[in-house]
Amino acid sequence: MTTPSTILAESSNRSVLERMHAWAVTVDHKKLGVMYILCGLVFFVIAGLEATLMRIQLIVPLNDVLTPQGFNQMFTMHGTTMVFLVGMPILLGAGNYLLPLMIGARDMAFPRLNAFGFWLFLFGGILLYFSWIGADGLYGSGGAPDVGWFAYSPLTSRTFSRGNSTDYWILGIMVSGFGSMTTAINFLATILCMRCPGMTMMRLPLLAWMMLVVAVLVLTAIPVLTAAQVMLLFDRTLGAHFFDPQQQGSAVLWQHLFWFFGHPEVYILILPPFGFISEIVPVFSRKVIFGYALMVAATVGIGFISLGVWAHHMFVVGLPPWLNALFAASTFLISVPTGIKIFNWLGTMWGGRIRFSTPMLFATGFLGMFIVGGLTGIMLAVVPLTHQLSDSYFVVGHFHFVLFGGTVFAIFAAIFYWYPKVTGRLMNERQGVWAFWILLLGFNLVFLPMHISGMLGMPRRIYTYQPGRGFEIWNLISTIGVPVQILGVGLIVWNMIRSLSRGAIAGNDPWDAWTLEWSTPSPPPEHNFDRIPTCTSARPLWDRKNPTDPDEHVE
C-alpha cells in the first residue's frame, strides 16, 4: 500500500486539463508557493542565459557577438529579472509555502489575495518579457528595455529612450510590485494573527521573523519605487517634467527615490536566505540556534537601518561631503547586525555534530561566500574608495557574492532541505554534492576575477573593452567559469526533476528537524494539519523528541 506520494500524484485520477485547472484556480498557499518557485526558476534560467550571452560577448576585447544595444538589453533584463522575477518570487514563494506550516496554521490569512498576488507577479513578468515583441512603438526602435535595472533618469526620458521599451519596464515591474505588496500584507497578517496555540512571538521560527521584517520592508520600499515609476510614466506619456533637466527637473531625485527602494530591496533578497540558514544550520549541527533573541534583534535592526543607507549607492553623484559621511556611517552600522548573524551561526555550529548533507553543504557555502560579499561591502562603504570602485566590475563582483554566493546558494540549500516536504521524496544526495562543488568552483571562477578587473579600471555595463588595459585575462577566466556554473545549476535542476519520481520516500521528518512543518506528512494534506498543533517552545518537535531535555524558554 505504498502509493507514490509525490505532489503530482495526489490527483492522478484526473485528466491533465482538470489538474491544470485545479492549479490555476487554487488558493492553497502550498500550490501557490510551488508555482511561485517554479516560475522563479524558469525566469532564473532565462536570466542565466542572458548573463551567458553577456559573458560570451566579453570573452575577448572588441568582440561583436552582441550589438551594443543587444548587450545593454541583456544586462537590463538580467538585472531586472534576477531581482524582481527570480529573487522576490522564489523567496516570497518559499514564505508562502512554509509560513503557515511553520506556525501551525491551515492557510495564509487571505488565501484569495494570495492567489491574486501570484498572478500579478506572473503577468508582470510576462509583460516585461513581452517587450521583446511589443515595444516597437511608433519609432521603430523596439525590443527589450536597455536602460539598466536602476533606469537612471534622464536616460529613461522619451528623448533618450524612444519606443515603448522603457514603458514596458515600468509597467511590468509595477504590476509585479503590486503582487509583492499584496503578498507582504498577507505575510504580516499571517505571522501576526494565525499562529497556533502556544506560539508566542519569541517562539516563532527565525525564518518567520525574517519574513516578517521582509514584509515590512516590502511595504515601505516598493510603494516608493511605484511612486517613482508613476512619475517616470507621467514624464514619458503625459509630458510631465519630474526628471527632465531641461525644465530644472532633477536627475538625482530619481536616484534618491530608486535607492530608497533599492537598498531595502537588497535586504528583502538577503533576509529570507538568512532565515533559511537559521533553520538549516541548527538542524544539521544538531544544536539550538545560538542567541535566538539577539538574532531577532539583529533582524529587526537590519530592517530599520536598511531604510537609512540608500545614498551609499550615490557616493559619486556629487552629494555634499557631510551627507556622504553620514551614509557611510549608517552603512558601517548595518554591517554590525549582519556580522552578529554570521557569528551566531558559527556559534551554533561550534560544539555541534554537523552532518554535511547537501542542505548543510550549501548553507556552509553560503556562509563562506557571503562573508566575502559582506567584507567587500564594507570596503565599498569607505566613500573615497568607492570613488574608485563605484560602477566598476568590483561592484559587480561584490553584489554577486552577496546575491549569488549568498541568496542563490541559500535558495539551493532551502530547495534541498524542503524538497522532501514539498514532494514527499528526497533529492539525490550524491548528485547534490557534485552540484555543490561544481557550482562553488564555477561561481568563484566567474565572480572573483571581477574584483580585479574592477580595480584595474573596468567599468560595469560596457559592451566591450579596449585591448591592452589588463582586463583580458580576468574576463577570459570569468567566461570560462560560466559553463561550469551552468553544469552545476543544470545538475540541480536535473536532480529536482528526476527525484520527483525516483527519489527515496522521505517520510514526515527526514532531517530529524524541530519546526512544525516536519510534524505533518510529506507532502502535507491540503488542510496542512489534521489537528492544529500546539507549541511549547521555539523548537516544538525537539520537545516531543527529547522530553527529558526540553527547549529552554527564551522569553
Binding site: A325, S335, R353, G470
Partner: protein
C-alpha cells in the same frame, strides 16, 4: 566520503586566501607592465589601475585602500578560519551518537561580537571621514588650471579659458591636455544624460550630471598619457566613451594651448571638400572655427592634432578618418553621427579637407 568535505574546505579556503591576496598585487603589476599604445609619438601610457596612483587624491585613496583591505583581510582570515575550523572539528564522526550539548546563547560572548565589530567600523568610519575631507574638495586648489568638461552621448568636450582665442575660450574634444605638476580643477557638466569621469590613476570618479555641477581635481605627477573611461551607463555607446589625459611639461602644454587657440589653416587646395562640409549636414553639428558653428558634436578646428577619433575608439589617420566619415555606425554602432552616403569622390574631398585641420 563525509570526512572528505573537511579537507576540501581547507583546500578551498587556502586557495581563496591566496587568490584574494594576490588581487591587488596583480592589479598593480598589470598597470605597470601593460604594453603601451604603439603610436608614433608615444608618451608613457598609464593604464588605469587604482593601485598605480600618480596624483594626490588617487594616492590617498590607494593608501586608504591598503588599510581597508588589510582590515578586511584580517576579518576574512579570522571568520573564514573559524568557519573552516568548525567544519573540520565539529563534523559528526561515525562513533558519536545522540545530541550534543544544547547551548542557547551567552550574553558575554554575544556582547563581545557586537561590540568588537562596532569598534572596528567606528575606526573605519573615522578614517573615511578624514579622507573624504581631503578628496572631496569644494573649492579649487590654489593655482589650479580650471577646465570645463562636458559629457555628451558619447564623447567628451573640454573648454579652457584662453585670452588668445577670439571666443575667449578654447574648445577641444576627447583629449584633455594638462601640465605636469599643476593642480587641475575640472568642472563637470552634462549636455544630456549622466556620465562619469574616471581616470583611476589620477582621481576617483565623479558623475557628470545634467543640471548639476560637480568637480574633480588632480595633479598629474608625471608626464604621460593617462587612460580611463566613462563609468556611468549612458546608453548605447557607454563603452565607447574613452578618456585620455595628456600630461606634458608646462612649456609643451602652453605650446599646445596656443596652437589650439590659433585659427585653422585655410588651404585653397581642399576647397571642394570644404564646400561639401558646408553644404551637407556636417556643419550643423560640427564647429570649425571661422567655417561652421555647430554645437552637438566635437569641435574639429584642430582635429588632426588629436591622436584618436570617435572618443578614443580608433587611432586617427587619413584612413580611419575616411572610413569613419563613410559610415560611423560601422566603427561605433549606435553613435549619433549618421552616414551621409557620400560618393567615393566626395569622401576623398571631405577627408582631404579635414586632414588640413592640423
Amino acid at each position: 566520503m563525509r570526512s572528505g568535505h573537511g579537507i576540501r574546505w581547507v583546500v578551498f579556503w587556502l586557495l581563496a586566501c591566496v587568490i584574494l591576496f594576490q588581487c591587488p598585487a596583480v592589479a598593480g603589476e598589470a598597470a605597470l607592465c601593460a604594453p603601451g599604445d604603439t603610436a608614433s609619438i608615444a608618451p608613457t601610457v598609464v593604464q588605469p589601475s587604482i593601485f598605480h596612483p600618480l596624483s594626490p587624491p588617487a594616492r590617498q585613496i590607494e593608501s586608504l585602500a591598503w588599510l581597508v583591505m588589510g582590515i578586511c583581510a584580517g576579518i576574512f582570515v579570522i571568520v573564514e578560519g573559524l568557519l573552516v575550523f568548525s567544519i573540520v572539528r565539529f563534523r559528526r564522526r561515525s562513533m558519536e551518537s545522540g545530541e550534543p550539548v544544547q547551548l542557547y546563547g551567552s550574553n558575554p560572548i554575544e556582547l563581545a561580537w557586537t561590540v568588537v565589530p562596532l569598534l572596528i567600523v567606528f575606526t573605519l568610519g573615522l578614517v573615511t571621514i578624514r579622507v573624504i575631507r581631503d578628496v572631496e574638495r569644494e573649492t579649487p586648489p590654489e593655482g589650479a588650471l580650471e577646465v570645463i568638461c562636458i559629457g555628451h552621448q558619447w564623447w567628451w568636450e573640454y573648454r579652457y579659458e584662453n585670452p588668445l582665442s577670439p571666443q575667449g575660450e578654447i574648445v577641444v574634444a576627447n583629449e584633455l591636455h594638462v601640465p605636469v605638476g599643476r593642480p587641475v580643477w575640472l568642472r563637470l557638466e552634462s549636455a544630456d544624460v549622466i556620465h562619469s569621469w574616471w581616470v583611476p590613476s589620477l582621481a576617483g570618479k565623479m558623475d557628470v550630471v545634467p543640471n548639476k555641477t560637480n568637480h574633480v581635481w588632480f595633479v598629474a605627477e608625471e608626464p604621460g598619457l593617462y587612460l580611463g573611461q566613462c563609468a556611468e551607463y549612458c546608453g548605447n555607446q557607454h563603452a565607447g566613451m574613452l578618456l585620455r589625459v595628456n600630461a606634458t611639461s608646462p612649456e609643451e602644454f602652453d605650446q599646445w594651448l596656443s596652437h589650439q587657440a590659433s585659427k585653422p589653416v585655410d588651404e585653397p587646395a581642399v576647397a571642394a571638400g570644404k564646400s561639401i562640409f558646408l553644404e551637407l549636414a556636417c556643419s550643423t553639428c560640427h564647429t570649425v572655427a571661422g567655417v561652421s558653428d555647430g554645437a552637438f558634436a566635437p569641435d574639429l578646428t584642430h582635429l588632426m592634432s588629436r591622436a584618436t577619433i570617435a572618443s578614443g575608439v580608433s587611432p586617427l589617420n587619413r584612413q580611419t578618418l575616411r572610413s569613419w566619415i563613410d559610415d560611423p555606425q560601422n566603427m561605433k554602432p549606435g553613435c549619433n553621427m549618421p552616414s551621409l552616403k557620400l560618393t567615393t569622390d566626395e569622401l576623398d574631398d571631405v577627408t582631404a579637407f579635414l586632414c588640413t585641420l592640423k
